[in-house]
């Protein structure tokens, strides 16, 4: 019922997370009826970003520069490296304001059935970093899923072989959580990683 160009726009908008057919239609009509200038800006921004944004050569995060600003920064402590799954995790850790080392972004986690092994996560690049004398310590901040655990273990083994101190961020009972409502697996983890007080 819509002309081919409009249908194509609606269909394309559906690749956005959380956008179903109804909201795609609403977005398309809104852009075309009321905000053509905004639509053009959006199109330009998308074009530019797709064309220019690639991976940081040092930490693999998304950036349009050859090396991202965190990797370039002189203020960051190059002796500590925090390994995360996604660029959004870097953002989250930066928000916490308590970490001043550098990052390494895997862009995923080990998942053999999906064809994601050590090479796909750039662990050969991480190994290169481990061989640099500056690096002293690695903090693995992968998610507390089984895939995240497997990834953490693989990286920890690599680090140990190269005599680098390695730790895993703690996870378990969330701040403000009540034990009664926490599932057994999470509690088991929390117990296993308890610390003296």
């Amino acid at each position: 019922m819509y002309s081919p160009l409009i249908s194509q726009l609606i269909e394309s908008l559906r690749i956005l997370p959380g956008v179903g057919p109804k909201s795609a239609q609403r977005m398309a009509l809104q852009l075309l009826e009321r905000n053509q200038a905004g639509a053009k800006r959006l199109a330009d921004a998308l074009m530019l970003a797709c064309e220019k944004v690639g991976r940081c050569a040092t930490c693999r995060t998304l950036t349009e520069e050859s090396q991202c600003s965190l990797c370039k920064s002189q203020k960051r402590d190059g002796s500590i490296l925090c390994v995360v799954e996604m660029p959004a995790d870097v953002f989250a850790l930066e928000q916490s304001g308590t970490y001043s080392g550098k990052y390494f972004v895997l862009m995923g986690k080990l998942s053999p059935i999906d064809g994601i092994g050590p090479k796909e996560l750039g662990l050969d690049l991480l190994l290169q970093k481990m061989l640099e004398p500056e690096l002293q310590e690695i903090i693995v901040a992968t998610n507390p899923t089984m895939e995240g655990e497997a990834t953490a273990h693989y990286i920890a083994e690599m680090a140990k072989r190269n005599n680098i101190t390695v730790s895993r961020i703690a996870h378990g009972v969330p701040l403000g959580g009540e034990l009664e409502y926490i599932d057994g697996g999470t509690l088991a983890h929390a117990l296993a990683s308890r610390r003296e007080i």
Partner: protein, 240 residues
């Protein structure tokens, strides 16, 4: 068709949208199952690997609709380190070798047995070999472990070559030293007693473990066609 509260293990999940996932389970009575599921809310248990759950589903097509998912009231040791890698290997084997609906209750039990014993096993190899043998049988790739391809019983001191589509082929009845100059068997050639040990899942002897590993690798490779198992990369001692 509607199935209620079936014991199962999640093997793999894949997001298809913000609110939906395709989940693959090994179920106790219905073999390998694929279903469309809603992403769990914060109050529901997340989909997690290697944890016993009970699930309910609806549907007659290959892709079912998951209607219920909760943790089973059984505790399992948490897989960590190498045993965790072994768990991923088992999951990949099941997904790659079984069709939807394939897999018996004994295979489900063998999977559960492996998950239960991997964390405390001195070596994971016997557990993996037992599981691989059963899985190959159930995936329709059984070979005869007691007789060679002509129907004669496997003799402990004869030598056999493995033909993955037919079985074991007798190639020599003499001790290795008499027909092999360097005393090393040719590729894919095994002594009868190793084959018989595998037939009865007896893996204490180191030479049997080596032969069993080679036989299984060879059989699995021929069943998997070209594409190698990704989870094997986890076991490589070094990356480069």
């Amino acid at each position: 068709m509607r199935i209620d509260l079936q014991p199962a293990y999640l093997l793999h999940s894949r997001k298809v949208s913000d609110s939906r996932l395709i989940v693959d389970f090994m179920t106790r009575d219905y073999g390998l199952l694929s279903a469309m599921a809603r992403a769990p809310t914060k109050k529901q248990s997340p989909f997690a690997l290697f944890r016993p759950v009970v699930i309910s589903w609806l549907g007659n097509k290959e892709l079912k609709t998951l209607t219920h998912h909760e943790l089973a009231a059984v505790t399992m040791p948490v897989l960590q380190g190498q045993p965790l890698f072994c768990g991923f290997y088992l999951n990949e084997l099941l997904i790659r070798l079984l069709n939807k609906g394939d897999g018996s209750t004994s295979l489900y039990e063998a999977y559960q047995y492996a998950l239960l014993h991997l964390p405390s096993a001195v070596s994971p190899e016997p557990l993996l070999r037992c599981f691989e043998r059963l899985l190959l049988d159930e995936a329709g790739f059984a070979i005869d472990w007691h007789c060679d391809i002509t129907g004669c019983a496997i003799e402990p001191h004869y030598w056999y070559r493995l033909n993955p589509s037919a079985g074991f082929e007798l190639i020599n009845t003499q001790p290795l030293s008499q027909w092999c100059l360097d005393n090393r068997p040719p590729a894919n050639t095994y002594e009868g007693d190793s084959i018989l040990a595998l037939a009865s899942n007896q893996y204490h002897c180191a030479s049997v473990q080596v032969a069993a590993k080679n036989i299984m690798r060879y059989l699995l490779a021929s069943r998997l066609g070209g594409r190698a198992l990704k989870s094997r990369e986890l076991f490589a001692s070094s990356l480069l």
